[in-house]
Symmetry: C2
Subunit: 196 residues, 2 copies
């Protein structure tokens, strides 16, 4: 597979850490995360903003070669198991959606998305790739975690490997250009009532 | 007010765009966003990752001096109105939580958090500050938007102004060090069942 050209096509320049980030499936099965890298990823998540600084995000890290990695991998849908086995780490990102007293944290899921985004930006800095997966057996992943947290995504983290062999249709997707809705499609009008 | 020292205290270095980001309330009431900056912020959000590339995030932009800005400001809680009036832009971030056919997008809220995080990182690149607010009248904000989207946060975007006068307790918060839970508190164990 040739190295995909995946830089975002933007109307104005984005910072390279954002423009160059994408979610590969081809990962180097020999690569190992250093403790320094892992700490940097978690620190990035830790310092994300959250509603009233509630910091509802939680992370369960499984390094390749451990039984925890095997257990998380096994709870993925087959579509994801087909490639995510090569991830240097599988990380379950979960949210504490309620306080210990049972009150709902309305932004817990939203804020956990932010924390993972910060983690993903730092991954770019570290020369690592992150591919987030929603395709897993929620009950099985939840059973691996302590009570009181809701698993949201599993992150496959590793070093991109453009020579990795992927089954179709994944190989085709890996080589395809990234695409997004046009910028205008994301923008909503604000309808101000006549009385304002 | 002296310039707060707000760089994140981390066990290993984070990229400055992440380590230096925080959520000020003191904003320059004279600063105006350029179209270039606004486009860069929206492009950053646009190129965030999402579940199956569904891109559920939507943004309604109100520039200071417009009736839209006044309408969004007026729907904030008083605590936020006290300072957010100086924002160069108030941006409602909303999610399409369902497809047009009515199917739930399970990661719409999570993914919108990611998109806003990407926007916030690009804001740092542009020399802008972002302060996200959950304190607003949801029904009034929703009434300003088209049907079918759920407002999640309002972003106050502008240029930080350390000389801005803030009422207490906001002035005290502005000068205080940032703080987070310890890194260990974010990490969950994975309890692998004996049968695995």
């Amino acid at each position: 597979m040739s190295t995909p050209h995946k830089t975002a096509a933007t109307a104005v320049p984005l910072h390279p850490l954002l423009a160059g980030r994408w979610s590969p499936r081809g990962l180097d099965p020999q690569h190992e995360l250093t403790q320094h890298q892992l700490t940097a990823l978690l620190e990035a998540a830790r310092w994300a903003p959250s509603a009233s600084n509630t910091q509802p995000w939680r992370f369960a890290v499984a390094l390749r070669g451990t039984e925890e990695h095997a257990a998380v991998l096994d709870a993925l849908v087959g579509f994801n198991r087909a490639w995510a086995h090569a991830a240097s780490a599988l990380v379950v990102a979960a949210a504490e959606t309620h306080t210990p007293e049972g009150a709902e944290r309305r932004w817990a899921v939203y804020d956990t998305g932010q924390a993972v985004a910060h983690l993903s930006v730092q991954a770019e800095v570290e020369g690592l790739a992150v591919h987030q997966m929603g395709g897993f057996d929620s009950e099985r992943i939840a059973a691996l975690l302590p009570e009181g947290v809701t698993p949201l995504v599993v992150l496959a983290i590793g070093r991109r490997d453009d020579t990795a062999e992927l089954p179709e249709p994944l190989a085709g997707r890996e080589a395809a250009a990234r695409d997004r809705l046009p910028l205008e499609a994301l923008q909503l009008p604000l309808g101000v009532p006549a009385s304002v």
